[in-house]
Amino acid sequence: MLLTFDFTSDIPLYMQLRNQIVIGIAEGKLQQGEKLPTIRALAEESGINMMTVSRAYQLLKQEGYIITDRRKGAVVAFRGKSAVPPDTEETLRLCLSELRLSGMSKEDAIALCERLYEEGTKR
């Protein structure tokens, strides 16, 4: 899986990393039990700070997307059905508001959501 870090973006680097891993898991690019690079290796590879990578991994661990093991490092965790985190619902609300304000119809917005949802499950 390719991870891209945009240094000009307003989104913090740790959040960019967290988001890409979440999307990667949803799209099937990262499989359950798959090993993620160690914090040190990923920092070395990308040139971003170790603390930044560590922060993203901690967040992913708290959210249950990965588990960390002293010997294996970080691995993608199985994520079965669970309650939608409150933050996600708020983010979705914001995104839909933005779509409505941009002039998109309800049907088109639902079609867009459907397409993105399918992209995450068909792989």
Partner: protein
């Protein structure tokens, strides 16, 4: 002397020019420090820029080699100054056509719309930390080999320990002067892994062979005490061997990079041009690392966006600027004043920062030698035509502390009751004789 001096450096010009000429071949989509798509390889304008660059670089090489001829006949300070200036020219002159050609390629890149959006870092998670590190134990045999001469000659202890330390330093260089970053060219993970393994393997091989070469240097110093010419011959062979080996590794790595990326650059590809000033200096404030890999080949370089990188660059520039003054510096060092005197019940000798004081009651024997002792070898210190000082060893004498002008006999040899030896000689033979008499009378 002149032929040896110029013979030891004249090859730098064709070597640098050959390395730069080699950059006209596409490797990892990069040519002369510019990342271009696959279609640019058949572009007539690009080909013309590369042809012109190759022509100019070999003209520069010819000019540099012709300059050597009159310099061979220079002497003393003028010789050393010319030597320093010539090496500076060797390093700077070939980069003039390089920078010109690169600028033209960047213009072509913009004109043809080959510029990629950047300020992003892309990581392939399947290629992170590819390739295994060599075991540190592999560096232990050369360290132990460096310590072997101590069993035969205790006088060489300091030099042997220094060589052993250098071998350890090479392990450190191998492990920490390498940016463990995947060699990513495009989305092809297998290609990234192959290029990363290639670089890491050759990097490890280079440092390991260098540490064994250090052990050979150390053993050849022991050999010098038996047969000076044989020892020198081994040193010369090892030096040539190291140069050939390092060049071979670099060129083989480049060749493989060229071969493996022959068909890349059609879809998405990595373009980091904006981080490379003039295609030579890496400047990326978004990259937290100071030591980074060169774009092609096997070497490392520094990120000058950070303070340590800046310091390194300034140090390098100062070193280059200091080279032409080497003749004057060496001249001043070689003519340093040598002071020998007897006062307050002690004998003192000094030259620059080297200073010896021996109480007269500790002197067991003082002898005036008409010539330098046989087999006098420098362990540490200065060994110039007109000044030798520091820690030496000599046949049948072992360790000896020296301050003398080797061209002005006689030499005063002092032995203390604790078994220490001092070999001294002023620039004026009358001073050496006078001090010898004062020491003899005082004892």
């Amino acid at each position: 002397m002149n032929w040896v001096l110029w013979g030891s450096v004249f090859w730098i010009a064709p070597l640098i020019c050959a390395m730069l000429a080699n950059e006209t071949k596409f490797k990892k989509n990069i040519v002369l420090g510019v990342t271009l798509p696959y279609s640019a390889r058949d572009d007539e304008d690009v080909a013309a820029v590369l042809r012109e660059f190759r022509r100019r670089i070999w003209i520069a090489c010819g000019v540099l080699l012709v300059l050597v001829v009159p310099c061979v006949f220079l002497k003393d300070t003028a010789l050393w100054t010319a030597w320093g200036v010539w090496i500076d020219l060797c390093i700077v002159l070939p980069y003039v056509p390089y920078v010109i050609a690169r600028r033209r390629l960047m213009e072509l890149k913009a004109e043809n719309g080959w510029v990629r959006e950047s300020r992003t870092a892309v990581v392939d998670t399947s290629a992170v930390s590819i390739g295994r590190w060599l075991s540190p134990w592999l560096f232990l045999p050369p360290v132990l080999l460096c310590l072997v001469p101590i069993l035969f000659d205790r006088a060489m202890l300091a030099a042997d320990l220094m060589f052993a330390f250098l071998c350890l330093l090479f392990w450190f260089g191998y492990r920490y002067l390498y940016r463990n970053k995947a060699e990513m060219v495009d989305e092809n993970a297998e290609l990234t892994q192959a290029l990363s393994r290639l670089r890491k393997y050759n990097w490890g091989k280079t440092w390991l062979v260098l540490s064994y070469a250090m052990a050979l240097y150390c053993l050849s110093m022991l050999l010098m005490s038996v047969n000076a010419w044989l020892g020198l011959a081994v040193i010369a062979v090892v030096t040539v061997g190291i140069c050939v080996f390092a060049l071979r590794i670099e060129m083989r790595t480049r060749r493989m990079q060229e071969k493996l990326t022959r068909a890349t650059g059609t879809g998405w590809y990595v373009d980091e041009d904006e981080h490379w000033i003039g295609g030579i200096f890496y400047h990326n404030p978004d990259d937290a690392r100071t030591v980074v890999n060169s774009r092609i080949g096997v070497n490392s370089t520094v990120n000058i966006a950070h303070v340590p990188g800046k310091i390194f660059l300034v140090f390098l520039v100062l070193l280059l600027l200091a080279l032409p003054f080497m003749g004057m510096i060496l001249g001043a060092l070689g003519s340093q004043e040598i002071a020998l005197s007897v006062s307050d019940g002690a004998f003192t000798a000094s030259a620059g920062a080297t200073h010896y004081t021996v109480p007269l009651e500790e002197i067991e024997e003082a002898e005036l030698l008409p010539q330098l002792p046989s087999g006098l070898r420098r362990i540490s210190g200065t060994g110039m035509n007109t000044l030798i000082k520091g820690h030496f060893s000599a046949d049948g004498m072992g360790s000896v502390e020296v301050i003398a002008d080797p061209t002005v006999p006689p030499f005063l040899l002092i032995r203390t009751d604790s078994g220490r030896n001092y070999l001294l000689g002023a620039r004026d033979p009358a001073v050496t004789r006078q001090v010898f008499e004062e020491v003899s009378v005082s004892r």
